[in-house]
């Protein structure tokens, strides 16, 4: 590893806030945040349930789960510069922990879940399934299990200063390994089918549209809570430090901080968020399977965040929902050709909006203040987070 020179970073670009200084205090103050959250809550809790049919609302619930993973990726990648291509693992751990509990609850005490009777030829529940019969273990496990795994991996990796592409590859390998493990143990994990046909959610019948709505409300509230948490994190001293590590890890080290510890915290938080998302995905969609946690879905999580704007608070949420919604809408309208349209959309965003959808409003504001501003896409360049430069210094 050559000692690549640290690239000078523009403080505005660092935080992903509009260029032109003072971190846009005028537009980004607490009052504004409160209004933003109130708007978001109104949209999610009042407008969406009234305007959407049960089917569309259940789709929105699914999108919001993906958005929750996105909030975590926004912290780890957008703020911390850790391109994690394996969030599916943590999503899966949370999802499986929840699904295992719900399957056991569906089967009733002392009974085996349906798929085990079919594929497992087991007489009794495997040992590692037993703790999940209790909601008091299963529920915390949905968040803690991913965090513990992330902590284990992170402590090994960050101390050894594995960064950039190497970290991305490692995280992806973890996703591949987890899928192979789950598929191989068909008798106890459901194999490629995964855990399907989940009937109840803590005593509530998931077939009932009223209960589906309840699940949606829980998901929407959790997303808002995660956003509030992320916002506090961004504002805190730790948040500043995380961005500093992203843009100049060596420099932070010379200042006497431990970059490995800073990154580890960000990575573990992102994993916990993915775990919660996975846990809530299960009652919303009724299935968790290796196909949802492997390499492809892990990359799709990252794509959503990239499209939305990785370093901003709302960008990952907007991006995840926009990508998932576009996928549904395009595939319904053009079942034969939608994949091309989706690809085109990604190309356009990356080419013309490198800062993601969240930079749209910045552009709009620039245009207002600079009416002569021809070639507006050039103007978007400064908003791009210092990602590329980070990669250079990390290589």
């Amino acid at each position: 590893m050559t000692a690549a020179p640290l690239v000078r970073t523009d403080p505005a670009a660092v935080a992903g806030t509009p260029p032109g200084g003072r971190r846009g205090r005028r537009f980004d103050g607490p009052a504004r945040t409160a209004v933003g959250f109130a708007l978001g809550a109104a949209l999610l809790f009042a407008v969406a349930p009234l305007a959407l049919s049960d089917f569309r609302l259940s789709l929105l619930a699914k999108y919001l789960c993906v958005a929750m993973v996105g909030v975590g990726i926004g912290i780890a990648w957008g703020r911390g510069g850790m391109l994690t291509l394996g969030q599916g693992v943590f999503f899966g751990l949370g999802g499986y922990a929840m699904a295992m509990h719900l399957k056991l609850a569906d089967a009733g005490p002392g009974e085996l879940p349906d798929f085990m009777q079919l594929y497992g030829q087991l007489d009794e529940l495997p040992l590692w399934w037993r703790p999940f019969a209790s909601p008091w273990i299963a529920l915390p496990a949905t968040v803690l299990l991913p965090m513990v795994v992330a902590f284990g991996l992170g402590s090994l990796v960050f101390r050894r200063r594995v960064r950039g592409a190497y970290f991305a590859i490692l995280s992806q390998a973890l996703a591949a390994a987890m899928v192979i493990l789950l598929v191989g143990q068909q008798g106890t994990t459901g194999g490629t089918n995964g855990l399907t046909d989940i009937q109840g959610f803590f005593g509530y019948d998931l077939d009932d549209p009223v209960n589906q709505r309840m699940v949606y409300f829980i998901i929407a509230a959790s997303l808002l809570a995660l956003l509030a948490l992320a916002r506090q994190l961004f504002r805190s001293r730790y948040g500043e430090l995380l961005v500093a590590v992203r843009d100049g890890e060596e420099r932070v080290r010379f200042l006497g901080y431990d970059p490995a510890g800073v990154k580890l915290v960000g990575y573990v938080i992102a994993a916990g968020m993915a775990g919660l998302a996975g846990a809530l995905f299960v009652p919303a969609v009724g299935i968790i399977s290796p196909a949802l946690i492997g390499i492809v879905p892990s990359i799709e999580f990252v794509i959503g965040v990239a499209v939305g704007g990785r370093a901003t608070l709302l960008g990952p949420v907007l991006g995840a929902v926009a990508v998932a919604w576009a996928r549904t809408a395009l595939s319904e309208r053009f079942p034969g050709t939608w994949t091309y349209l989706q690809g085109l959309l990604f190309v356009l965003v990356v080419a013309f909006l490198p800062g993601g959808l969240a930079s749209l409003w910045v552009l709009a504001r620039q245009r207002r203040s600079d009416p002569a501003g021809a070639r507006w896409w050039r103007r978007s360049r400064p908003v791009e987070p210092a990602e590329n430069r980070t990669e250079v210094s990390a290589a």
Partner: protein, 414 residues
């Protein structure tokens, strides 16, 4: 200041969770199920049906042919006046080779489009993903692919073979040929693993030995090790449950290792005419397949089907077992609806038992209790022209037995 706000926001969010939880108190799982399901929209002079196949992703190559075949059946029925005087309007959706997407699209077809029935799904994982959706909405799915059995849903009709109509006859054939040992090779997913479980139980009861069992991840092209193990096992035959692209790599490796259909025959259960084209006839010549239908199956019904398919999609397009099963599914549904005199799902189900259809594969009969269909098993041999010719058939349609209840050796399986 900002921290204070943040806490307030958090508190607000928590209040909302509590409010939402209070607002959403629907029925409990212990309650009697009361959901009536969505009824199909048949108010006009048309009736919609859903077509749910992967048009993108790894499964697209196989599932698109099934879609084409369903469209052919729909056109034929419409040309003949429709069903109960209503023209069929097909609504197509892309499952995208992704199981939760299948569930999403199934829900969309049922609740938004209000279709009278859905035709499609290929992999077992996609069927398992949509099964709860159809059961919840009390809507009908016609599943046209051979599968691993051990399933019986009141809202699914299985028009492909279950294990006693494909795998068990395949084993019977090997036994009759004097094969005493087999080696099992499969893709790593539910169908091969379940099929191999059944094969091992059969072997144990019929004096055959299973010399090895290997799985390759779906889409894997690394078969050097597996083929070496197969060769050194000196098994009498190989039972192959590999899916898709992996077959190309496997058979190339198999041929280059000097193994042939004469020295060690391979019985494949997922290679039909369409796949033979992709793998290459030179690697597959004289190898065996187990299905219920081949393009070469004799009979006027098949001649008509093959001619119509080639006229619509091109002379070079082969017809295969899953395509035929999908085509048959649409016609069977029409007969069921006409017998019931209504599109109402429960009445259609009640009317389904005993319905027969003169299918390209021969006469098929719907078995009311299992909602599978009685089919004739056929062992085929791959010819030099890429078509498969039958070398043995069961003589008469085999009654479906998805749980293998009538086979004493299978008693421990489920």
């Amino acid at each position: 200041m900002s921290q204070f706000r943040g806490r307030r926001i958090l508190a607000g969010a928590m209040t909302l969770i509590a409010a939402a939880a209070l607002a959403g108190c629907g029925s409990k799982t212990s309650d009697e199920k009361s959901t009536a399901g969505v009824s199909a929209d048949v108010s006009g002079d048309t009736v919609k049906v859903g077509l749910l196949n992967s048009l993108s992703g790894t499964m697209a190559i196989s599932e698109v042919t099934v879609r084409d075949s369903i469209m052919l059946a729909v056109e034929e029925i419409n040309a003949g006046g429709g069903v109960l005087g209503k023209k069929i309007v097909p609504v197509g959706e892309d499952g995208g080779s992704d199981w939760p997407t299948f569930a999403e699209k199934a829900e969309k077809l049922i609740s938004q489009d209000r279709v009278a029935a859905v035709f499609g799904c290929w992999t077992s994982a996609s069927r398992k993903a949509v099964k709860p959706v159809f059961e919840k909405n009390k809507a009908l799915l016609f599943y046209p692919v051979q599968y691993e059995g051990l399933e019986q849903s009141p809202y699914i009709f299985y028009t492909g073979a279950t294990t006693n109509q494909q795998i068990v006859p395949g084993l019977d054939y090997l036994k009759a040929q004097g094969k005493k040992s087999v080696y099992l090779v499969g893709s790593d997913y539910v169908f091969p693993r379940t099929a191999n479980k059944i094969i091992k139980a059969y072997a144990a009861a019929n004096g055959m030995t299973v010399l090895g069992e290997d799985y390759a991840p779906l889409g894997s092209t690394e078969f050097g090790t597996i083929v070496n193990k197969v060769r050194s096992s000196k098994a009498d035959a190989v039972f192959n449950t590999l899916n898709g692209d992996s077959n190309v790599a496997f058979f190339k490796e198999y041929t280059s290792a000097g193994l042939t259909a004469a020295s060690m025959p391979v019985v494949s259960v997922s290679i039909a005419e369409e796949e033979v084209k992709g793998i290459g006839t030179q690697y597959l010549k004289d190898q065996l397949t187990a299905w219920n239908y081949y393009q070469t199956t004799p009979g006027a019904a098949n001649q008509k089907f093959v001619a119509a398919y080639k006229a619509k999609y091109g002379a070079d397009k082969p017809t295969s077992d899953p395509m035929e099963a999908a085509y048959v599914a649409v016609h069977l549904w029409k007969s069921m609806v006409e017998k019931a005199g209504t599109f109402e799902v429960e009445k259609v189900r009640t009317a389904s038992g005993g319905i027969t259809y003169d299918a390209p594969e021969g006469l098929v009969t719907v078995d009311g209790p299992t909602q599978h269909i009685a089919k004739t098993a056929r062992i085929g041999k791959v010819g030099g022209d890429g078509l498969i010719t039958e070398v043995w058939n069961s003589g008469k349609p085999i009654t479906p037995d998805p749980y293998l209840k009538s086979y004493p050796w299978a008693s421990g399986l489920s």
